[in-house]
């Protein structure tokens, strides 16, 4: 029974690994469909809660997948989901990355690069926007904290850890 679940997760995540352009954050609606709607492994509320915790923990955004896997099938579920999501895309990165670097002086390569950078900035800004909307909904202190962090990081180049620690303390005091 449990092996069936692990096999399902391995198959799904290794496929997702090759098609999740723009990172894991952008694929969350599809992961939700797979876990909650298709397999009924957890409720939608539980899914949202786990997503929130993973965002507050250190590590790449893809960690949420390990967290979900842990709740579904224990530590082995976390390791299988995490591994299946990382391995295929890692091979792609390895083989295309060195090719990309060797071609760095070709004009087409420079046009591709210069053309893609603005899209990345737009995507990152979109992630920031979506995170802000979900973290600060109906709470002006939370919104003020987000804005203060942007200013502190941009102007004073404050270390991210200090900014996060400040946020955690304010949240722990119940002000956010």
């Amino acid at each position: 029974m449990k092996w069936d679940i692990l096999l399902d997760m391995a198959g799904y995540y290794s496929t997702l690994s090759l098609i999740c352009f723009g990172g894991v954050l952008a694929s969350m609606p599809d992961v939700h469909r797979f876990i909650v709607e298709q397999h009924h492994w957890m409720s939608s509320e539980e899914f949202t809660r786990l997503f929130g915790i993973s965002n507050a923990a250190p590590g790449p955004n893809m960690m949420v997948v390990g967290m979900l896997g842990y709740q579904i099938a224990g530590p082995l579920g976390a390791i299988v989901s995490f591994g299946a999501l990382s391995l295929p895309s890692s091979f792609v990165a390895y083989y295309t990355g060195s090719l990309w670097h060797r071609m760095r002086d070709r004009p087409w390569r420079m046009a591709v690069q210069a053309g893609l950078t603005p899209l990345t900035v737009g995507l990152l800004l979109a992630s920031g926007y979506i995170l802000t909307m979900s973290a600060d909904s109906n709470s002006w202190p939370a919104f003020a904290l987000t804005a203060a962090v942007v200013v502190a990081a941009m102007i004073w180049r404050a270390h991210p850890l200090w900014l996060l620690a400040g946020g955690a303390v304010l949240g722990g005091l119940g002000w956010i």
Binding site: H101, A142, V149, P160
Partner: protein, 180 residues
């Protein structure tokens, strides 16, 4: 700016492990600081370029970043060292956190801390986006960035559709401008 010597596999592993272990709310701000400001492996522009590529190929972008940088300095072993540095510490954290969540997830203090962390983390992502935006050399780049933002954040167009339309347009525009 002076370039340091090529890092060893151990240094690659430790650097990315440190970035991923301290990278609350996303590793990117920590990785950027470590790679550009502390280790000086890449300039701000090189980092923006490489990150754009890592964002474009599938997978977790910071893991791709660690693999590309590791491979550039130390070949396959460097790529493995970078990827493991990026993946092992968060994996350990997840195993711990998964167990803790079951026990303490409903305490008000834990909920408050999670809210504060979430709000601050959102601000960090915005600041990274803005800082990378400052490296643009052409005004039209801002237009393409704004269109990408609108497509994903406001109009909720699927990512693959957005890339299929905007990537050729933005690259084509650069190609035309550069040929003149």
């Amino acid at each position: 700016m002076e370039r340091p010597e090529n890092p060893t596999c151990a240094e690659l592993f430790l650097t990315f492990a440190k970035a991923s272990a301290t990278g609350f709310g996303g590793v990117l701000p920590f990785a950027r600081r470590m790679i550009v400001e502390e280790k000086r492996w890449l300039s701000e522009e090189e980092f923006a370029d490489l990150f754009a590529f890592c964002q474009f190929i599938p997978g977790a972008n910071v893991v791709n970043l660690a693999i590309c940088i590791g491979a550039r300095y130390r070949g396959p072993m460097g790529a493995i060292a970078g990827a493991l540095g990026m993946l092992v510490p968060p994996m350990l954290v997840i195993l711990l956190l998964g167990a803790f969540y079951v026990q303490f997830g409903d305490l008000p203090l834990a909920k408050g801390v999670m809210r504060g962390l979430g709000a601050a983390a959102a601000g960090l992502v915005v600041s990274v986006a803005l800082r990378l935006g400052l490296t643009f050399r052409a005004k039209a780049s801002y237009l393409f960035a704004a269109l990408a933002f609108g497509a994903i954040a406001l109009w909720r167009i699927p990512l693959i559709t957005m890339l299929a339309v905007l990537a050729p347009a933005s690259i084509g525009w650069q190609w035309v401008v550069r040929r003149k």
